[in-house]
Subunit: 596 residues, 2 copies
């Protein structure tokens, strides 16, 4: 066990050290040591993932408003591309719920569902999203994912799950309803309920009930019957396949299609077609924003799954290379008739639990899906859409976790505000407004929080050379000298506050002749802050007050020396606060002393 | 002198202490002590400011594409409103160059210049901008101005100055040209030059030459002739009035209007009309973004002028109350036929240098302007537009300062990028795109900079209880224990980096059994960072590694205790790093110890 961990570790190190182009092909590292044992494990995992992916792919295509085969196509070539470029051993990519909803939102504005333009736009969206992810990976812009704070992501996923579930209820009840936000969806659904289609509703409700039971009720039974917890979990997660098989059989036997139950219908048989993204500038412009949002949301979801699974085996993923892996997967989706993909939570956990050892498991699952599109598609004709809708609802409701509201409320009102606004905006104005509002609000909250750098007026602890906050300690201060300790790096959002603080303190005490800014914790001073210091110096000079600095860190001092600030500064830079006070408190020290 | 400083100070203190509604009326504080001496000083300053404001108001209205009288109207009631609500003793509000250009950009999209809709939109823009400023003031959102970093503001003002000068050249040469960005303006101007109108160009170029000479050449002469530097500066700044008077006279004498020179023409005589903003939802929606940008840009410009001048007399301004003052001024502009206003740099300096003692000087200047609109408007009929354009060009070119590019380049590449992008975007895509690009880029640069919190692996300085960076000091480390000091507050932009750093360190060293995060400099942990800590704890547990904390600050600990994180944490919280190492390094300490 330890030996294997070491080897895995060694491989990761080697991958990290590989300079040049080899760094971009993790497959070259794990592929070299690939052996029969790994092959066996990977194939077993691939079979299980394939069984799980078939209904999911069909269902998410339905959610995106696309023909079912596009879901299958999005689960073939992208998996192969990720296997070559990705760094996670267990991540399973393909269509996922939130990205499917975002796809439907983005292209629903541009084209009619079911039209050729709609599918074309979806393919282009995958291509653009792939390009953006690749570019972010090559430029090492993975930090952009940090724009999405945890609470905003939780709120967004929860609200999206609710929106998705609400949007699928119409398929479960066999009514036509729609809307772009939760109130619209619900009112349209309620007013359509009198037209409920009994046979469809019977299938939809039965499927949903069965799937909920599989999740909650089957697992304990399997565990009691002696199955291990992982195996029980895997069996429980393949529940949708049984629902699909049984309802398809029922629909065929009872000829439910003639009775008005919406079926999947004919699905083209065969491997994915070769598609090329269209070069329509207007379409590119219209999809640029959505592609960026989809890329970042997909990346954040995927990386967090990959990190969780990698940690369990002390493996390591490389976020910037993950961008390249997901970028390649999306470009692969766009050239093979698919739509935007990312790493999915449920299927990656199944892949991991089923024993996948390398990304090759993904490639084998792709082969399984390819076989399915060649041989199984005729069987899908009789699959009721209500079954797929039930699959989606049961899957997304597990994403809904409103406890984030309570948790954030008790932890911090600011985080609560970010979550609440994200959830409300998503439910009321859709996914794009929702995630954007969350990002903007969390950035504003952060800027607000850091707009007041922590500062303290300090004085000397009697008999020592230590200086402490005058509000908390019994300390001595020197008349005519204001010593202000700055406890944070200074940058544009907090520079003006420092100006205000200094003017406020100085204008309250006309006897002040020297201001000493003590900077032991200032790691960085950006140009805004430099200009604030210049303004402070100039304005203090107008008040006949001298500005000094003390305990400036080396790198900050180096940077200041590149400017003429120190030449113009009215006072000195002291190595220690004690030195500053000793010098300035002397009689006659009110004059400007030469800079050191 | 000292006595006066004390009194001023005392008044400021009183203003700050006034709770309740009195805080919102600074006039109640300075008005109570208003005496004959202050009255005399204020009236002198008001006369000089009035003389300066008349040509400026007409010129900036021309720049905004509005009829000249709207510039005058914007210089009457707004000054009175600011005198009641503002906290600066010397700020002179009214139409300014950059805001006038932003106004022209915003409403140029909505209506044709010269139409009634255009003027209506300008009035509404002032109203919305006033409401936004008031709301920001009441909600204490002044920190939003921090979004504009110094370098971004400098770059924006410089680029706006260039754009404005380029846009006015057509009036100087008497040709028709236009465009929304610098290349368009210049090419259209060059291709129109063959149609140059000689008489107009003669007036325009002569005025511009005279005004440049007044700025550069007259002041030294005045100084040599014994005038004090302040008086010389004031005389030099009233140059535009002479240019206006002389060219108006010339245009009247030579009947230049018939010769095709564009004149101001008839201006309605009398006091400003009472206007009400229109209630057209589409118009409100279209102007919301521009109103927000204009409010923030105007506020930042105004506050920096007010702070500079206040500092010279050890006075203090209250930024949140300034928002209210400027908000009231803009609402006053909107109800009296004006357009968006803010505090202007040049006129405030003149006001200050001319001896203004209180905001009453602004109210007296308003009276002067009111007299001008009643009695002087007929004289403006013959004023050539070329003279006004020359006034604008000379005024804005003093704002252009490309040295910010060189300065930021030598100080920090990141700041340079923000400046360069702001300038380029403003020149190529206009003021709104320019300022927005600058804001977004500076926020991204900040998030990038802080996305890697400073951390250091630490070890014990032999023989002491001090722990220092192992890369910089000769220290002892304990096998199986990773001590990582975190030197910054943890929040959403840097939380994931900490996760990566911990996994990276742990996955490189399979012998690690304990991770101690030493948090002496962590002032804040937001919910994203809390969830990262939870993820680190969970994933380390999966690797059979225990997570501990040490030296957690009191307020951070209080917040963590409100959550269940400490209950789930696999290890302990130690008061000091030394305590942590002493406990964990004992044999058999590889087991999970009970939480404290």
């Amino acid at each position: 066990m330890k030996g294997r961990a070491r080897r895995t570790h060694g491989m990761a190190m080697q991958a990290a050290k590989n300079g040049g182009w080899r760094r971009y092909f993790p497959v070259l590292d794990w592929g070299r040591d690939y052996d029969r044992e790994a092959l066996g494990d990977d194939v077993v995992a691939a079979v299980i993932v394939t069984i799980m992916l078939i209904p999911q792919s069909l269902a998410y295509a339905l959610l995106a408003g696309l023909p079912p085969e596009m879901g299958l196509y999005a689960s073939i070539l992208p998996l192969v591309a990720y296997a070559v470029f990705g760094t996670s051993r267990a991540l399973a990519v393909g269509p996922v719920a939130v990205v499917s909803l975002m796809t439907a939102t983005a292209i629903g504005r541009i084209a009619e569902q079911g039209s050729a333009d709609y599918a074309t736009a979806a393919i282009l969206l995958a291509f653009m999203s792939g390009l953006l992810l690749l570019a972010m990976g090559l430029l090492r812009l993975g930090f952009l994912a940090n724009l999405l704070s945890h609470p905003v992501v939780s709120g967004f996923i929860t609200a999206s799950g609710i929106l998705i579930a609400a949007s699928q209820l119409r398929h479960v009840f066999g009514v036509s309803a729609g809307g772009h936000n939760l109130p619209e969806l619900l009112t349209s659904l309620v007013s359509a309920l009198p037209d409920l289609h009994p046979a469809t509703a019977a299938i939809g409700i039965a499927s949903a009930g069965f799937l909920f039971w599989v999740r909650k009720g089957l697992k304990p039974i399997l565990l009691r019957s002696g199955l291990g917890p992982r195996a029980a979990d895997i069996v429980a997660k393949t529940g949708p396949v049984f629902a699909v098989a049984v309802t398809t059989l029922v629909a065929w036997l009872l000829d439910l299609g003639s009775a008005g139950v919406a079926l999947v219908g004919s699905v083209p048989q065969g491997l994915p077609p070769l598609t090329t993204p269209v070069l329509d500038p207007d379409l590119w412009l219209a999809l640029a924003g959505p592609a960026a949002l989809i890329s970042i949301v997909g990346f954040v979801e995927s990386v967090s799954v990959a990190q969780t699974l990698a940690a369990r085996k002390r493996q390591h993923i490389v976020p910037d290379q993950e961008l390249i892996g997901l970028g390649a997967a999306n470009i692969a989706a766009s050239v093979s008739g698919g739509y935007p993909v990312t790493g999915g939570f449920a299927r990656s956990v199944v892949n991991f639990d089923a024993g996948a050892r390398t990304p090759a498991a993904g490639a084998f699952a792709a082969a399984g899906l390819a076989l399915a599109t060649v041989f199984l598609t005729p069987l899908l004709f009789y699959l009721p859409q209500a079954t797929l809708a039930a699959t989606i609802i049961v899957a997304v409701l597990s994403l809904v976790d409103l406890s984030v509201l309570r948790k954030s409320w008790s932890y911090s009102r600011a985080d609560f505000a970010a979550v609440a606004v994200t959830i409300a905006a998503t439910l009321l104005s859709g996914v794009e407004v929702g995630i954007s509002a969350g990002v903007v609000l969390s950035v504003l909250i952060h800027l607000y929080r850091t707009s007041r750098p922590h500062t303290a007026v300090v004085g000397r602890v009697p008999g020592t050379e230590h200086y402490r906050n005058i509000c908390r300690h019994a300390v001595e201060t020197s008349p005519g000298i204001l010593s202000l300790r700055v406890d944070e790096s200074l940058y544009f959002a907090n520079a003006r506050f420092l100006e205000d603080r200094v003017y406020d303190l100085v204008s309250r005490s006309p006897e002040i002749r020297h201001v000493v800014l003590m900077c032991p914790a200032v790691n960085h001073i950006d140009m805004s802050a430099l200009e604030s210091l210049e303004a402070i110096n100039r304005r203090l000079a107008d008040m006949e007050v001298t500005l000094h600095l003390s305990e400036v860190k080396g790198p900050v001092m180096d940077r200041l020396e590149r400017t003429d600030f120190l030449d113009h500064m009215s006072g000195e830079v002291f190595l220690s606060q004690h030195q500053a006070i000793s010098r300035l408190a002397k009689p006659g020290s009110g004059q400007t002393a030469p800079a050191q």
